[in-house]
């Protein structure tokens, strides 16, 4: 291999790593965002619990009355 071949290999590898890592970070961020969006689309346990709590409170108030 000539000296230029080693230089080309070194610079080619550098660009491959820098671009590859950039792509990997972006992909990971997108996956995390998709996971978060999907999780946010699920009904919250708090939201599910609220009507039940209200019903219990109403019943309790009626019983006391």
């Amino acid at each position: 291999m000539s000296n230029w071949a080693f230089v080309a290999l070194a610079f080619g590898l550098t660009w491959a790593v820098l671009i590859g890592y950039t792509v990997s970070i972006h992909r990971r961020a997108r996956q995390a965002q998709r996971l978060l969006d999907a999780a946010l689309a699920q009904p919250s346990s708090v939201a599910l619990a609220e009507p039940a709590c209200e019903a219990v409170t109403r019943t309790a108030v009626e019983v006391v009355r």
Partner: protein, 244 residues
């Protein structure tokens, strides 16, 4: 002892983690800086007396090694801050920097090997600088693997911070190895030790790599925070409890 504080408060689940405009701009800026610095290095440096055109590998090998050292210094600082403040954001910062440090260390090792073959006649030798750098790579790869051992966020952060502080002991050993044991690897290269013709090429490439490093760190930290938010939300749903 301070309590572990989550990186995200309950309101940030709905808000998300905003990405700074500066960080978005930094990507193309770093790309242009890398292209410009490498072009400058190629156009302004005549072949070296001993190494010929192989000298140009210095413009990527040396900055890659420097960025690895900076990354591990960030891991050390963020780990200390986590142990002191118990704020999970420092843990996420340390983990992000460790991953980038491993990437740059691997790159520096590979580039050193490519440079070593035509100049030393071998791809690899158990020279103190090479060996201590390979150990550094393995230690921080181990740090990243350790983070997968437990799902308990607080324990993961505490263990990682302890390893992040201890692992840093190897960094000065790597740096000083070429002074302590004078073997095959040359003394550290810097703009003050190389021929003046190569100094600006090295400086500009180091600055360009630094911009790329800051960009990587910002994006990786942002991704880590979004991941953490998603984890918390999934935890909340699976536990069926209130988000506290």
């Amino acid at each position: 002892m301070k309590r572990h504080r989550d990186a995200e408060d309950p309101t940030s689940v709905q808000r998300g983690v905003p990405l700074s405009r500066w960080l978005v701009l930094l990507g193309p800026v770093a790309l242009l800086a890398l292209l410009g610095a490498q072009a400058f290095g190629f156009l302004t440096s005549a072949p070296d007396r001993d190494m010929g055109h192989l000298q140009k590998i210095m413009y990527v090998h040396v900055p890659a090694a420097w960025m690895a050292m900076i990354a591990f210094t960030v891991v050390f600082g963020a780990s200390l801050l986590y142990l002191w403040r118990r704020d999970e954001r420092y843990d996420l910062m340390a983990a992000s920097a460790a991953e980038i440090g491993v990437v740059f260390t691997g790159l520096a090792l590979a580039l050193g090997s490519i440079w070593g073959k035509p100049t030393w006649g071998i791809w690899w030798t158990w020279d103190p600088r090479l060996t201590s750098t390979a150990i550094l790579f393995l230690i921080y790869a181990g740090y990243l693997a350790l983070r997968g051992f437990t799902d308990d966020m607080e324990r993961r952060a505490r263990w990682s911070a302890a390893v992040g502080v201890l692992a840093y002991l190897n960094v000065p050993i790597v740096y000083l190895s070429v002074r302590w044991w004078r073997t095959l690897h040359q003394l550290p290269s810097s703009p003050s030790t190389v021929d003046p013709m190569y100094a600006w090429g090295l400086r500009l490439n180091a600055i360009a790599f630094l911009l790329a490093f800051v960009y990587f760190l910002g994006r990786r930290y942002h991704a880590a925070r979004v991941e953490r938010l998603a984890e918390r939300r999934v935890e909340e749903i699976s536990l069926g409890g209130a988000y506290v």
